[in-house]
Symmetry: C2
DNA sequence: GGACAAGGTGACCGCACAGTCAACTTATCG
DNA sequence: CGATAAGTTGACTGTGCGGTCACCTTGTCC
């Protein structure tokens, strides 16, 4: 339908990148309470420019999520071949938490978000995590009564819990990832109530 | 200073209670994104009535936090005498999570909240938790490299993680409390990176 | 270099929000 | 009762938001 996939003019490409970067920085600094003018002010462009590149604010969010979750999917897929699957899963969770420490877009993954692009990339990520969890469980690196959904739900917790501090040390999340991962190990595990929830979304 | 502490007129007392209850229900249903008109509509009173009882929206929030956190402080103080301190700590975390399942006001406890009434009641809660953690650690029920601040930070995680599902089973938090508490036990604990953060706020 | 489409701009719109207030209603008390 | 202070009401204000658009600027291509 589109006549040609004509490339962006150089100034347009630069402004688009400025907007995405500015948005990441704003979301990182202020959480989810960021307005379009906040973003354009940091990017140094006018409001109209924002809406030339992104039809709605949610479009920009989908672009950011695509970028970050795409990177995470790559990490997860590379770790499929890890010789020690338990280490592979822990490595993935570490990379994921470190990424969120810089640009936390995890609130964009919460259920109830109806944007189809976000849902699609989220599902691809969750499939990739499922592979890592299954391998880790098969080798006894994690307890056998947990599944991929459990890991997905717990994945963001190390980053979230440190937000109760007003200025947490930048790598405090490592401490809570270690505690939670110890809870996933088979040694000294107490039986879990209920059953694994069926799926995310 | 006040001339007399004259009691509220009966209709005023009833409306005040209606507003607090309606606010709890709204916060419980929609999270933190609740407007004053949402609350007054559910309470069945006009907007002006809200602002006669609470000077600002934050005043109402402080009243709700006071009520809920006060109840939690009572629970923590009663569990000081528990014969098994490990069970006592787990009982406290269970009651706290169950309470949040109904009315989650944990977002009101996040750092950066400047309301002094909220800060004061929060600190009293954290002191009470500190006693429970110290006793549990002294008897070897929890690993010796964690402290009260760690438990405080992890306390809300079981409720938060289930919010990534669109309609989680109502007691799914029990599963993640069990996993996290297993991570706090001494059996099979791997050494933690970093050190315990100094304090909340 | 000139023509023109692509891109940039900021005043503007409609809306939802927290908070105000003058006019009205009612519980309380002698 | 009747008087009056206490409480209620909803239209109103000001602010900030996401999004629009007519006009202006500039990169691109011959």
């Amino acid at each position: 339908m589109d006549p040609v996939d004509r490339p962006l003019r150089v100034d347009a490409a630069r402004n688009r990148e400025l907007l995405i970067t500015a948005a990441e920085e704003e979301f990182s600094a202020k959480g989810s309470e960021v307005s379009v003018v906040d973003i354009t002010r940091r990017a140094g462009v006018a409001k109209g420019t924002f809406f030339r590149h992104f039809a709605t604010k949610d479009d920009l969010i989908a672009a950011i999520v695509g970028r970050h979750v795409g990177a995470l999917i790559d990490v997860a897929e590379n770790l499929r071949e890890a010789t020690d699957p338990g280490e592979g899963l822990l490595d993935f969770l570490t990379v994921a938490a470190a990424q969120r420490q810089q640009y936390d877009v995890s609130f964009l993954l919460r259920a109830g978000d109806d944007d189809e692009r976000v849902v699609e990339v989220r599902n691809r990520l969750y499939e990739a995590i499922g592979v890592l969890v299954d391998r880790a469980r098969a080798t006894g690196a994690v307890r056998d009564d947990i599944g991929a959904t459990d890991v997905i739900l717990l994945m963001c917790a190390p980053n979230h819990v440190v937000e109760y501090l007003s200025s947490p040390p930048p790598d405090l999340w490592k401490r809570y990832l270690a505690i939670i991962f110890d809870g996933l190990r088979p040694e000294g595990a107490h039986p879990l109530p209920g059953r694994e929830p069926v799926a995310v979304q």
